[in-house]
């Protein structure tokens, strides 16, 4: 087995196990730590896909900023123990698990059938082995510059809105 294949299987196992433990662990702090592990694993999978810039952004934004946000809020809540971590009701729970399983089965089945119908060739083998960052930046700043600026405006609105939300009457300062 080549190094690429071993890396893929190891990373996908890491991502899936830690993703499963996000859902299954009842302590929210452990869930947050497992989510950080998942983010790191997904970022490493991005590296195996030659998306180096996105891997860095994933590490900084998700494993850095978003996880710090989650853990800070969890510490603020001071959840020692969690009552009723999972949904009640055996029938509705079974229906939910079955719907999730059907969705996953449909997607995986579609992928395997699509593979048997049309063998998707890896075009990326010979062309552009490494330098996707330059192509990404050209695409981002030449073709999609309006979306980029709109995202900047969106982030500004979100920052103002978050502060306003946490200071609003009936919110955090309600008596």
């Amino acid at each position: 087995m080549s190094a690429d294949a071993f890396l893929f299987w190891f990373l996908s196992l890491l991502v899936l196990v830690s993703g499963l433990s996000v859902v299954l662990l009842t302590n929210p702090v452990y869930s947050a730590l497992c989510l950080a592990m998942t983010m790191v694993g997904v970022s490493a999978l991005f590296v195996t896909l030659n998306a180096y810039f996105l891997a860095g952004v994933q590490l900084i934004v998700y494993a850095g900023a978003v996880m710090v946000l989650f853990v800070m809020v969890l510490m603020l809540f001071d959840l020692k123990h969690e009552t009723q971590a999972f949904t009640r009701g055996k029938i509705t729970g079974a229906i939910k698990i079955a719907s999730v399983g059907i969705l996953a089965g449909l997607v995986v089945g579609a992928i395997t059938i699509g593979k048997s119908l049309e063998n998707i060739k890896a075009v990326a083998d010979n062309a552009q082995a490494a330098d996707t960052t330059k192509i990404l930046s050209e695409n981002l700043f030449l073709k999609n510059v309006f979306g980029f600026e709109a995202l900047g405006v969106l982030l500004l609105v979100i920052a103002v809105g978050t502060v306003a939300l946490s200071r609003s009457k009936g919110g955090t300062h309600a008596k």
Partner: protein, 108 residues
């Protein structure tokens, strides 16, 4: 021969299957868990699964548009996490609880 081929050559469908399973886990988390914060973590899990499939398609189709889309999705996810956590803080200060079983003011 077929199974060893699946094990040793990693193609697009491998990444897509991992992404689908990760998405299903996130969906199960949103449906099954009752803690507001863990539900938001599961939403992040789903967004990551979508990002993974975008990047896999981008590599195997040799197209960089998908990576721009991943960039946008990450920004939206960060904004969503900020707003959602601010709402969670507001809800916690009011109800002293983050279990959604106790929020019934919006129930029809």
């Amino acid at each position: 021969m077929q199974s060893s081929d699946i094990l040793s050559t990693i193609g697009l469908e491998h990444y897509l299957v991992v992404s689908a399973i990760l998405f299903a886990m996130g969906m199960a988390g949103v449906l099954m868990r009752r803690n507001l914060i863990v539900m938001m973590m599961s939403i992040e899990l789903m967004l990551n699964a979508v990002n993974l499939s975008f990047v896999a398609f981008s590599k195997f189709n040799n197209n960089s548009e998908a990576q721009v889309m991943v960039f946008f999705v990450m920004t939206i996810a960060a904004a969503e996490a900020a707003v959602g956590l601010a709402l969670a803080v507001a809800i916690f200060k009011r109800f002293k609880e983050v279990n959604i079983r106790f929020f019934e003011h919006l129930k029809g």
